[in-house]
Structures are given as structure tokens and as C-alpha cells.
């Protein structure tokens, strides 16, 4: 198989059967935002806004480089943003404005 065929036949999530290094059995406690991110996904699923398979495909659509560099919940939240944009639930602009607001609020709280 040529490298480009390989890319087409194995999307980034499709890794079953590939070679890989040893298993790192260390685990970490979820950070509060990671747990909120998980809860958000579940709540969006309850409301039929975003289901598990859409979530998996959303992560896949981030592409191999992003998948390789982001942590698990960083990939999730980035995928949710893209999916919600595609579904026209949110716009990139409103998310950007809100993120600026949240960052400014944290900065103010840090000063206080």
C-alpha cells in the first residue's frame, strides 16, 4: 500500500491492529473542566443535539495532526465547537466573543 492509500484507508481514529508502543498504565484524575466537558457532552446527547457517533466523527474530522497534539478532552471540546457550528447551533463569532468575555472575567477575578 502506498502512503497515500494508507491515509485514505485508515482515518485517524481507525487504529485497531496497528503497531504501537508499550501501554502506559498511569492514570490521571479528571480536572474539573474535563469533567464539565464530559457532562456537557452527555447533556447535549440527552437533548438530541449531539450524539456519541457525531462526537467520534467530529474528533476524527480534526485530522491526524490535531488528534496527535491535543489531549483527550481538548479534542472533544474542539470537535463540539465544529459540530455546533455546522449545525448552526452556534456561530464561530459568538463563541469567540464569549471566550474573550470568559477570559476577561477570569483576569478580573485573578486581580480581585
Amino acid at each position: 500500500m502506498t502512503p497515500s492509500e494508507e491515509l485514505l484507508k485508515h482515518l485517524p481514529n481507525d487504529i485497531g491492529g496497528l503497531s504501537a508502543g508499550p501501554i502506559d498504565c498511569t492514570d490521571h484524575e479528571l480536572q474539573p473542566w474535563e469533567k464539565r466537558c464530559h457532562a456537557l457532552a452527555d447533556v447535549l446527547d440527552y437533548h438530541k443535539i449531539l450524539n456519541t457517533e457525531e462526537k467520534r466523527r467530529g474528533v476524527e474530522a480534526l485530522g491526524a495532526e490535531i488528534i496527535g497534539k491535543l489531549t483527550y478532552y481538548e479534542r472533544w471540546i474542539a470537535a463540539f465547537a465544529n459540530i455546533l457550528f455546522q449545525k448552526q447551533v452556534l456561530t464561530p463569532e459568538e463563541l469567540a466573543i464569549k471566550m474573550d468575555e470568559v477570559a476577561a472575567r477570569h483576569a478580573r477575578e485573578a486581580e480581585a
Binding site: D24, C25, L40, V43, D45
Partner: protein
């Protein structure tokens, strides 16, 4: 058991990172639009916190002492768990795979991180990472050896690959010499790793001793 990396739960310099800000902004926007309620997020965090491998251990211990329950569990995993009061908040089906003298089961999600969350809680990091997902289906014995688990060559290893809607749980073998044990004592033997299939009750306890 595995060493745990107790990463501090607060960001050292206090400033939330880019992705945390994205999470907060998205959640607040969705609430402003009335698509979700803040209370639902808090409630779901409580649900997530309430799910631990102890629930799965309770299911396993009951199956060991009650043959009728075991039969129902193997026939319809989800409804049998619901009999014990375990709700399936994620709308998944559960298939329980019984280990026997001739078959050892192992579960994986090669595509992502599907896991029997209602009965085990959230998966460990290694379950979500490439080495386990890639190798479990190709060289399960080598993977098991990394967990200190050696399955005799004449025992077949079956690897089940989870999906978004179908999840698996391994029913480990009841150890010999536990005939007079109570249900609670039996449940105390059952760990997360034995219900994923990367350990057996015997290897697990050897490691602890």
C-alpha cells in the same frame, strides 16, 4: 493496582487554559440560548461521580451467587443491571461476556473510548490511548502480559470491540475456595481491570499480596 498520577486539580498559575475557556464559553452560550440548563450539567457531574467499578463488582458478585440472575445478565445485560437499580444514562446496550475455563474475554474500543460507563464509570487513560486500542485486537496476549496477566495457551482469548451503542462488560471467573463467601466479600475481589479483562481475579490478587 496501577500507579496513579495525582495531577493537581487546579491549574498552577490560576489562569484557565484555552480549552477550558472554550468549554466555559460554549456551556454559557448554550445556556443563554436555553438549549441546556446549568443545573443539568451539575446533575450530570453528580451522575458521573456516582458511577464507579463498585457497581460492576456488585453485578458480578450477584451473578456468581445467583444462577438465574447470571442467566438473565448474559441474555440481556442492561435489563439485568437495571434490576439492581443501575440506570443507563447514556442509552447504550450492554453485552456481558463470561470468562470460562476455555475462554478469556477482553474489551476495547479501537475507534475511540466507548466503555460500559453506567456500570464502571469513566475509562482509565490507557483505555483511551493508542497503544491499548491499536494492539489489543492484534496481540492480546502481549497486551495482557504488560498488565501482568498470563492466560494459558489452551485458553482462547476473545477481544470484543465496543461501539457507540453496544458496550461490553467481562464477567470474570469466580475463584476456587470462595464457596462460603458472602456477596459483599465476593464483590470486594472484583476490580475494574478484571471487568475490562486485562486482569483475572487470581493475577489481580497475586499482585496485591
Amino acid at each position: 493496582m496501577h500507579p496513579h498520577d495525582h495531577t493537581p486539580i487546579t491549574v498552577p498559575d490560576g489562569a484557565p487554559g484555552y480549552y477550558e475557556i472554550m468549554e466555559t464559553a460554549m456551556r454559557e452560550l448554550l445556556a443563554e440560548k436555553g438549549l441546556i440548563q446549568p443545573a443539568e450539567i451539575r446533575r450530570q457531574i453528580e451522575v458521573l461521580d456516582s458511577r464507579t467499578p463498585q457497581l460492576g463488582a456488585k453485578v458480578v458478585a450477584r451473578a456468581w451467587i445467583d444462577p438465574d440472575f447470571r442467566a438473565r445478565l448474559l441474555a440481556h445485560g442492561r435489563t439485568a443491571c437495571e434490576e439492581l437499580g443501575i440506570t443507563f444514562y447514556d442509552d447504550t446496550q450492554l453485552i456481558v461476556l463470561e470468562n470460562t475455563a476455555t475462554v478469556h474475554n477482553l474489551i476495547v474500543c479501537t475507534l475511540c473510548s466507548c466503555y460500559p460507563r453506567p456500570v464502571l464509570g469513566l475509562p482509565p487513560d490507557w483505555y483511551k490511548q493508542k497503544p491499548y486500542r491499536a494492539r489489543a485486537v492484534k496481540e492480546p496476549r502481549a497486551v495482557l502480559a504488560e498488565f501482568g496477566t498470563v492466560i494459558p495457551e489452551d485458553v482462547e482469548i476473545r477481544v470484543s470491540d465496543s461501539t457507540a451503542i453496544v458496550r461490553y462488560l467481562v464477567l470474570p471467573r469466580r475463584p476456587d475456595g470462595t464457596e462460603n463467601w458472602s456477596e459483599e466479600e465476593l464483590a470486594s475481589l472484583v476490580t475494574r481491570d478484571t471487568m475490562i479483562g486485562v486482569s483475572t481475579i487470581e493475577t489481580q490478587n497475586r499482585r496485591v499480596q
